[in-house]
């Protein structure tokens, strides 16, 4: 299992460092190559340079928020196919619809999220 996913790059964009480390630990254990960014601009630069297989995105992040990031990534043909999974504190229906409308592959509200389920969902999306 590990060997198959070793070259799979997962980019985590999250400004809360504690949570970033928790996510790092969750996915690194699965054998993914993990890249991290703590703000939107850094996340976008890393997306352009690394072309990750999947992006795990927080919406409320410094410098460029997650919606803006999604808009730019999905409007760039070179990056548009990269699945972006949102993991956010924002749980309003409007926010979820907006993110999905901008092209998010899935949306997880932090208050209701189980990291085990998130990990399974990421695996499922990558397996498509």
């Amino acid at each position: 299992m590990k060997k198959n996913v070793e070259k799979t790059i997962l980019l985590i964009i999250e400004d809360d460092e504690v949570l970033l480390r928790a996510l790092y630990l969750t996915f690194h254990e699965k054998g993914y190559t993990i890249a991290t960014a703590t703000d939107g601009e850094a996340g976008l630069k890393m997306t352009e340079r690394m072309k990750p297989n999947l992006v795990l995105l927080d919406l409320i992040i410094p410098k460029m928020d997650g919606f803006e990031y999604l808009k730019i990534v999905k409007s760039n043909p070179a990056l548009a196919k990269i699945p972006v999974v949102v993991l956010s504190n924002l749980g309003q229906k409007d926010d979820i619809e907006k993110a999905k409308g901008l092209g998010a592959a899935d949306y997880f509200v932090k208050a209701n999220t189980n990291l085990s389920d998130l990990s399974k969902k990421v695996q499922a999306i990558l397996a498509r």
Binding site: D16, R21, A22, N89, K110, A111, N114, L115
Partner: protein, 275 residues
């Protein structure tokens, strides 16, 4: 198990976010309550997330805070904040742990002290007790000794807060106990005996500092209504020592109390910075 821990970290970060959102729209007591709840959650998160910091390189982010209608940008090391919180929690826990260990393993500092009787110990320089001391208390001085009143019994001396002394004993219910405590001078204390015959007298070192060494204690019962008193009880001694542990205990006590206050203020300050 690992997921349970990581999920807890996730839930705590989310709770903190939700609280911060609430605080921004609140004022007064409600806001203060939420700030303290935030500080508490940060403490919990700091402890729970501690393993995440091991063997991982720290990273910095830029934080913002609102100020007088506009946004001002400050650079704040988020990681440093969490580490500081963790350090603060660690220091407080350590101080309280030391205090607990002292209570458990050095009971002499907090517990009962040894009382000596005259036959065991009788230092020659401590026997100038009664006459001078009684001068100060006119009623006691002029009281008549009666065989109707039984002398009270000093049963134990305990050290309080690593510094002060509390004398415990039994006596005639609803009477008054007079306790003479000798040093260079003699302190005279009076205290009531309750209906069950128990009495307690507190000695504060700040009012009358007992020097190191042996101190004699004499007690008798005094009846204010009839202006009579009992005979002296047998003279007893106890030893005052200011050891290194005494000093540690006293300082740990002060530190333990102040550390909580300082940490709370520090936590509130850091929480305001990141709202």
């Amino acid at each position: 198990m690992k997921y349970a821990w990581l999920n807890l970290v996730l839930q705590l970060t989310n709770r903190i976010y939700q609280r911060k959102q609430k605080v921004v729209g609140q004022e007064g007591i409600a806001a203060a309550k939420n700030v303290f709840a935030l500080v508490f959650l940060e403490f919990v998160l700091a402890i729970v997330s501690f393993p995440l910091y091991l063997n991982l390189r720290p990273q910095k982010i830029t934080a913002f805070f609102e100020e007088k209608g506009g946004y001002a940008k400050i650079t704040f090391d988020y990681n440093l904040r969490r580490i500081l919180t963790l350090t603060g929690v660690g220091i407080v826990l350590s101080i309280w742990l030391v205090k607990l260990l002292l209570i458990l393993f050095v009971p002499s500092l907090f517990g009962t002290m040894r009382l000596y009787t005259v036959s065991e110990l009788r230092p020659p320089d401590l026997l100038s007790v009664s006459a001078d001391a009684l001068q100060a208390e006119t009623e006691i001085q002029t009281s008549r000794i009666t065989a109707d009143l039984a002398a009270p019994k000093l049963e134990s001396v305990r050290k309080a807060n690593g510094e002060n002394f509390v004398f415990y004993g039994i006596g005639q219910p609803n009477s008054t106990v007079v306790l003479l405590l000798s040093d260079q001078q003699t302190a005279v204390y009076t205290g009531p005996v309750d209906k069950d015959g128990n009495w307690q007298i507190d000695h504060q070192q700040k009012n009358f500092a007992l020097s190191e060494g042996n101190h004699s204690v004499l007690t008798f019962t005094f009846d204010e209504a009839s202006k009579t008193r009992s005979e002296f009880s047998g003279e007893q001694y106890f030893k005052v020592t200011t050891s290194f542990l005494d000093a540690v205990t006293r300082n740990v006590d002060v530190l333990a109390n102040w550390s909580v206050v300082i940490l709370l203020l520090f936590g509130v300050f850091l929480t305001f910075l990141t709202i």
